[in-house]
C-alpha cells in the first residue's frame, strides 16, 4: 500500500469518530512509517496517544496487506507509561482503533496490579501491544528467553518522558532500550513529552547513541493553553499566619468555589496535607459529605480507580489530591483547579492548571491558596513566570551504579550475559557514556565477589561466572529476592494498611508505623482508624470513632522551589523595594512588609540580607538567598562548616525556600566569618564535601541507592521471618563502606547525588557568586522578623558540629519519660 493511501486510512478512521487529525499527528504518522525514531512534544489531552498509536497499526496494515486480520502476530509494540492510572485509557484508545481497522489484535496491560495468572497468559501468548511500566519491562528482561519474546517488536513508545527523565526510572528505560536495540536493530524508539526547559537534552537521553539528527524526528504540537491565576487573599494580612504549610485558615473561601463549579480538583503538596484538607472540608461544609473524595499515592489502587471513574462521570463535586492526579487524561467535568500552598515549580503549576477539561485554546483558571503570609509573593511570582513561559528543566540522572547493578543482576537472573557485549550497549546510553573500563570492572567484581578483598574461605554468592564466560545467577533464592527488588525504584519501605477482615486501604511509610502502638488512632484515606496489630509487613486496623488521631506524614513531601520560580521571587522583592506594587498579592502583603522594614530590612537586588538575633532557644543567624530549600540546605551546611572552623561550635540548620537559619547555643562568630570570605567560591568543592560529611547528608541519599542495588532487603508479606537474618539498615551499610571500603562506587554515588540533586551544586555556586557581588546587610533585629519566623519554627533540621562529641554530651540532657 502506498504511504499516502495508508495515512488516508488513518484520517478516515478519525473522520468516523467525528475528528480531524491535527497536523502534528499526521507528521508523526509519516515519520514513524518512514522508519524514524523520534519524540512527540505535546501536552496531555492533545491527542498524543493517537499520534503514535495510529502509525503502529498502519505499519502492520502495510506489512501484512495480504492478511491484515490474522491473529497471534507476536509482540509488535510496547507502550511504557510511568503511572498505572494511565494504562487503561491508552488500552481503550488503541484497542478501539485496532478493532475498527479490522486488525485481530490484543492490547494488554502488564503492571504491578496484574495477577500472576494473567502474567503467565501474557507470557505464553504475547499480545500485539503491551502497555506497561519501566519496572515491569525490567521484570520481562529478568525472564528466561526474553529475546524470543521480543522478537517481533517493531516500536517502543515511552509516554510522559518528561516525567521519567528526572528519575532513576528514566535510567531504567535507557538501559532497557540499550538491550532491546542490541538484538532488534530495526526497533523504532519514540518518546512523548510535555514541554520542559531542556527538551533537547531529553531527546538525547532517550536516543542514546542513536541520537544522530538524521535518525530521529522531533514533532511539536504547539498547542497553547492560556492560564489565569487568582490568589485567594486573606481578609486581613495582620491575622494571617506568618508560618505554616496547611493553609486551613482560608478554607471558608474555598467552599463557595467548590459549590459553584460542576467539579473541582484541589491539589495539595503532601499526602498528610491532603488528608487534613479532606477532613477539614467536611468539618466546615458537612453537606459535601458523600460528594467529595480524596486521592493520593498511598491509597489503594481500587479506591483510587473508583475516584477517577467518579471524576469522569461527573458525580463528584470535589477531589482533594496530591501529585497523584498530575498526569493522565483530562477529566472533562472538572471546571476548577485549586492549588493549596506553593506548587514549587512553574511547569507543575501549568500542568495542574491544564487538568480541567477545557478545549485547547480556551483559558484555564487556577486558584492559588497561600498557606502563610510570605507565600503571597509566590502568587505574584508565578503569574509572571507563566507569562514568560519560564519552564523548569528536568535533570537526567547519570552514572547511577545502583541501577546498573540492579540491571546486570536482572540480566544474570534471566539468560545470563556476556560482559563484552553488554558493556558496549551500556556505554552507548546517555547515563553511562562516561563509565570507564575500570569502573565497569569494579561493577562486575561487585556483583560476583561482593567487593574486592577476597579471603580463602569466602562464601559470597550472587552472580557466578560460567565456564563459557557467561554471568549468571544460579541461586533460586537470590533470583527470587531480586525479582521482588526490581520494583523498589518506586517505593520506599512501605507497609500495607488493611482492615482486620482483609480489605486493603493502601500503604504508609514504615517509620510512621514505628510511632504507633496498638490502640492508637490515626487518619488515613479519610478514615479514622485504630491500629490493631502489625503482622508480616501489614498494619491491621479497624474503624475508630475517635475524632482525634495522628496523620501519617511522608518523608518525600518536601519539594524545593525551582530556580525559575526563585528568580521571579527576587524580581518581586525588587519591585517591593521600588514601591511598584502592581500585583494584588504585593498590595495585600504591604502591612507585613512594613513590619519587616521596621524590625530589619527588605533587600533589593544589589543587597544580601543576614539577620542575627537571640531568643530563648539560642543564637539565630538567618540568611535570605531566595534560592529554594535544596540550595539553602547545601549553603547552610557550607556556611555552618566554615563558621565552625573559627571555633568549636554546634549548629542546627533549618531552611525553607526563602532562606536558612543557623542556630547555636553559644554566640556565633559572624563578624569574623564575614571578614574571612564566608561566601567565597574558593575551595568550594572540598568545603562542600567536608560539610556533607559533617552534616551526614549522604547517609539519607544512600538509603535509596542501597535498596535499588539490592543491599538491603525489606522482606515481603508472609515471608518476613525467614529472611530476618539478612536484614540490615542502609545506615549500617553506609557506615561500613565509609570505614572499610571508601572507594565503593555506590558509596561515592551517594555523594554525587547529594551534590547534583539535593544541594544542586551548580545552582549553589551561582548563588554564591551572586552574593559576592551583593552588598551584605547584617541586621540585628531585637526579635524575630516576618522573614525569619517561618524558618525558625521548622522542626526538621540538619546538624553540624566542630565540637568534640564528649564536650557536647557534657552540655546536653537526657530525654526522659514524660510524667
Amino acid at each position: 500500500m502506498q504511504q499516502q493511501a495508508l495515512i488516508q486510512r488513518g484520517t478516515d478512521w478519525f473522520k468516523q469518530q467525528g475528528w480531524t487529525p491535527f497536523p502534528f499527528q499526521m507528521e508523526a504518522w509519516q515519520a514513524h512509517l518512514d522508519g524514524y525514531h523520534g519524540l512527540v512534544n505535546a501536552p496531555t489531552g492533545s491527542g498524543k496517544t493517537y499520534s503514535l498509536g495510529m502509525p503502529i497499526l498502519l505499519e502492520f496494515l502495510r506489512d501484512h496487506a495480504d492478511d491484515p486480520g490474522r491473529a497471534d502476530n507476536g509482540l509488535r509494540a510496547i507502550w511504557i507509561t510511568p503511572i498505572r492510572a494511565l494504562t487503561r485509557e491508552i488500552q481503550g484508545a488503541l484497542q478501539r482503533a485496532a478493532d475498527d481497522m479490522g486488525l485481530n489484535w490484543r492490547v494488554a496491560i502488564r503492571s504491578g496490579d496484574t495477577s500472576s495468572s494473567e502474567r503467565q497468559k501474557l507470557k505464553r501468548k504475547p499480545p500485539e501491544v503491551l502497555i506497561t511500566t519501566p519496572e515491569s519491562l525490567h521484570l520481562l528482561l529478568a525472564s528466561k528467553q526474553y529475546e524470543k519474546y521480543f522478537k517481533d517488536l517493531s516500536t517502543i513508545v515511552i509516554d510522559e518522558w518528561h516525567e521519567l527523565i528526572g528519575s532513576k526510572r528514566g535510567v531504567q528505560i535507557e538501559l532497557a532500550l540499550s538491550r532491546l536495540k542490541g538484538f532488534l536493530p530495526k526497533l523504532k524508539v519514540w518518546g512523548i513529552s510535555a514541554t520542559i526547559g531542556n527538551i533537547e537534552e531529553a531527546i538525547s537521553v532517550l536516543m542514546g547513541n542513536a541520537g544522530q539528527p538524521d535518525q530521529y524526528k522531533v514533532i511539536r504540537a504547539n498547542i497553547d493553553k492560556r492560564i489565569e491565576l487568582e490568589t485567594i487573599l486573606p481578609d486581613t494580612i495582620e491575622t494571617f499566619p506568618w508560618a505554616g504549610h496547611l493553609g486551613i485558615t482560608l478554607i471558608e473561601k474555598i467552599v463557595p468555589i467548590i459549590k459553584a463549579g460542576q467539579s473541582t480538583l484541589i491539589f495539595t503538596n503532601t499526602r498528610a496535607q491532603c488528608e487534613i484538607w479532606y477532613q477539614k472540608l467536611l468539618d466546615v461544609a458537612p453537606d459535601l459529605a458523600g460528594i467529595i473524595a480524596m486521592h493520593h499515592g498511598s491509597i489503594d489502587r481500587k479506591l483510587r480507580d473508583w475516584v477517577e471513574n467518579a471524576l469522569h462521570e461527573g458525580t463528584l463535586k470535589a477531589v482533594v489530591c496530591t501529585s497523584s492526579l498530575d498526569l493522565g487524561v483530562d477529566f472533562r467535568p472538572v471546571e476548577n483547579i485549586i492549588q493549596i500552598g506553593s506548587p514549587k515549580g512553574v511547569a507543575r503549576f501549568i500542568q495542574r492548571a491544564g487538568r480541567s477539561g477545557h478545549q485547547p485554546g480556551a483559558t484555564s483558571q487556577i486558584f492559588f491558596v497561600p498557606t502563610h503570609s510570605l507565600e503571597l509573593l509566590e502568587g505574584a511570582a508565578l503569574r509572571q513566570a507563566i507569562e514568560e513561559k519560564a519552564l523548569e528543566s528536568r535533570m537526567p540522572y547519570i552514572r547511577s551504579f545502583d541501577v546498573l547493578i540492579q540491571y546486570l543482576i536482572t540480566l544474570a537472573v534471566s539468560d545470563g550475559f556476556f560482559p563484552g557485549q553488554i558493556y558496549e550497549e551500556v556505554v552507548g546510553t546517555y547515563a553511562y557514556r562516561s563509565v570507564t573500563p575500570e569502573e565497569w570492572k569494579w561493577t562486575l567484581h561487585f556483583i560476583t565477589t561482593g567487593g574486592e578483598s577476597l579471603y580463602a574461605y569466602d562464601e559470597y554468592r550472587k552472580v557466578e561466572i560460567e565456564e563459557d564466560g557467561r554471568y549468571k545467577v544460579n541461586s533460586r533464592r537470590v533470583a527470587m529476592r531480586h525479582r521482588l527488588q526490581i520494583g523498589t525504584i518506586v517505593g520506599d519501605a512501605d507497609m500495607q494498611v488493611k482492615y482486620v477482615k482483609g480489605s486493603r486501604l493502601g500503604s504508609i511509610e514504615e517509620w510512621f508505623v514505628g510511632q504507633l502502638k496498638p490502640g492508637d488512632t490515626f487518619w488515613f484515606a479519610g478514615r479514622s482508624l485504630e491500629m490493631v496489630r502489625i503482622k508480616d509487613m501489614t498494619v491491621q486496623v479497624k474503624r475508630s470513632k475517635k475524632k482525634k488521631g495522628k496523620i501519617p506524614s511522608y518523608q518525600g513531601g518536601r519539594m524545593p522551589l525551582s530556580s525559575q520560580l526563585s528568580a521571579f521571587l527576587l524580581t518581586k522583592m525588587d519591585q517591593i523595594r521600588a514601591g511598584q506594587l502592581n500585583d494584588i498579592e504585593l498590595q495585600t502583603l504591604q502591612p507585613l512588609l512594613d513590619v519587616q522594614t521596621e524590625r530589619s530590612h527588605i533587600p533589593d537586588r544589589s543587597e544580601f540580607l543576614i539577620e542575627y538575633f537571640t531568643s530563648r532557644e539560642g543564637h539565630h543567624l538567618v540568611f535570605y538567598p531566595f534560592d529554594g530549600r535544596n540550595v539553602h540546605e547545601g549553603m547552610g551546611s557550607l556556611l555552618a562548616y566554615r563558621l565552625s572552623r573559627i571555633q568549636p561550635i554546634s549548629f542546627s540548620i533549618a531552611m525553607n525556600d526563602y532562606g536558612f537559619e543557623l542556630l547555636s547555643d553559644i554566640p556565633i562568630p559572624i563578624d569574623e566569618g564575614l571578614a574571612n570570605e564566608l561566601f567565597s567560591t574558593r575551595n568550594l568543592g572540598q568545603d562542600i564535601m567536608d560539610s556533607i560529611n559533617s552534616a551526614e547528608l549522604a547517609k539519607r541519599t544512600f538509603r535509596r541507592i542501597a535498596s535499588i542495588a539490592g543491599l538491603i532487603f525489606m522482606g515481603y508479606p508472609g515471608k518476613q521471618k525467614k529472611d530476618r537474618h539478612v536484614q540490615a539498615s542502609s545506615q549500617l551499610f553506609f557506615d561500613v563502606f565509609r570505614d572499610y571500603e571508601p572507594h565503593n562506587l555506590l558509596y561515592r554515588q551517594a555523594y554525587d547525588e547529594v551534590m547534583t540533586f539535593q544541594l544542586e551544586e551548580a545552582r549553589m555556586r551561582q548563588a554564591l557568586e551572586r552574593i559576592n557581588q551583593q552588598k551584605i546587610i547584617l541586621s540585628k533585629p531585637i526579635k524575630a522578623t516576618p522573614f525569619a519566623f517561618p524558618i525558625m519554627v521548622d522542626r526538621l533540621r540538619g546538624r553540624l558540629t566542630s565540637e568534640r562529641l564528649e564536650d557536647r554530651v557534657q552540655r546536653m540532657k537526657l530525654q526522659l519519660v514524660k510524667d
Binding site: Y740, E806, M812
Partner: protein, 217 residues
C-alpha cells in the same frame, strides 16, 4: 586514642564500663560482653549481600585489646555471640580463644545462637543455661522480668538514648542502661543497630562515644 572508662558501684560489685562496650567486674575478674553477632558478615555475604570482610577485624581487634588490657579470669558472653549457623568466622573465633588458654569463656545462649551442640563442644566455650547466677548477679541474654537476685545484667536490646541541648541540638548514642533491678549492656558487635530507650529519672545511663563512657544526666 586515650580511652576514658567509668566506675560504677552496683549491688556490692565494682564495675568498670569500657567504651569498647564491655563491663569489667573487678571482684570476679570477669569481662562481660553482649551481642557480638559474630559471623554476621559471612552470613550476609553467603546470601549475596556485599558486606566488606574487614568489618569482622574490628570485632577481633577490640576483643583482643580488652583481653590483653584486663587479663580477665573469665569472659561471659550474654547471648547473640554468633549470628549464623556455622561458618568460617566461628573457626577464627575458636582460634582466638585458644590463644588465651588461661581464660574461661562462657556463653549464655541468646536468640541468634543456633550453632550445633557439636560446634560448641569442640570449642573451649562453656554453655550456660539462661539465666545464670554468679554471686548476687543474674546473667542473661533477655532482660529478666522477675528474679530474686540482687541485680540482673542482660543484653539483647542494643540500647541507645537521645540527648538534647540548647540551640535544638540532639544526639542519639548507644549506652549502658542501668534500671532498678536490671542493667542492659550495649551491643558489642560492629554492624549491629541500636534501639532508642526512654529512661526514667531513676535510671542510670552511661553513653558511649568512640573513646569515652560518660554518665548522662
Amino acid at each position: 586514642m586515650r580511652l576514658t572508662t567509668q566506675h560504677l558501684h552496683l549491688a556490692g560489685a565494682d564495675l568498670e564500663l569500657h567504651p569498647y562496650r564491655a563491663i569489667y567486674w573487678q571482684q570476679e575478674e570477669a569481662l562481660l560482653l553482649a551481642d557480638l553477632h559474630l559471623g554476621k558478615v559471612q552470613h550476609f555475604r553467603r546470601e549475596g549481600f556485599p558486606l566488606p570482610q574487614d568489618v569482622t577485624n574490628t570485632n577481633w581487634d577490640k576483643l583482643i585489646a580488652l583481653l590483653l588490657d584486663y587479663r580477665p579470669e573469665r569472659v561471659y558472653f550474654l547471648g547473640d555471640l554468633f549470628h549464623s549457623d556455622w561458618n568460617a568466622e566461628w573457626e577464627e573465633f575458636c582460634d582466638l580463644m585458644d590463644r588465651f588458654p588461661r581464660v574461661t569463656f562462657s556463653l549464655v545462649l541468646g536468640n541468634h545462637d543456633r550453632l550445633s551442640d557439636k560446634a560448641y563442644s569442640r570449642s573451649r566455650m562453656d554453655i550456660l543455661e539462661e539465666p545464670h547466677r554468679v554471686g548476687d548477679f543474674l546473667l542473661s541474654h533477655h532482660p529478666q522480668e522477675e528474679h530474686d537476685a540482687a541485680y540482673n545484667l542482660a543484653g539483647h536490646i542494643h540500647p541507645a538514648v537521645r540527648l538534647s541541648g540548647g540551640g535544638r541540638q540532639r544526639l542519639k548514642l548507644p549506652c549502658f542502661y542501668f534500671g532498678g533491678k536490671t542493667g542492659i549492656l550495649p551491643a558489642f558487635g560492629v554492624f549491629t543497630g541500636s534501639k532508642v530507650l526512654t529512661p526514667t529519672a531513676d535510671d542510670q545511663i552511661f553513653v558511649i562515644t568512640d573513646s569515652s563512657v560518660i554518665r548522662a544526666t
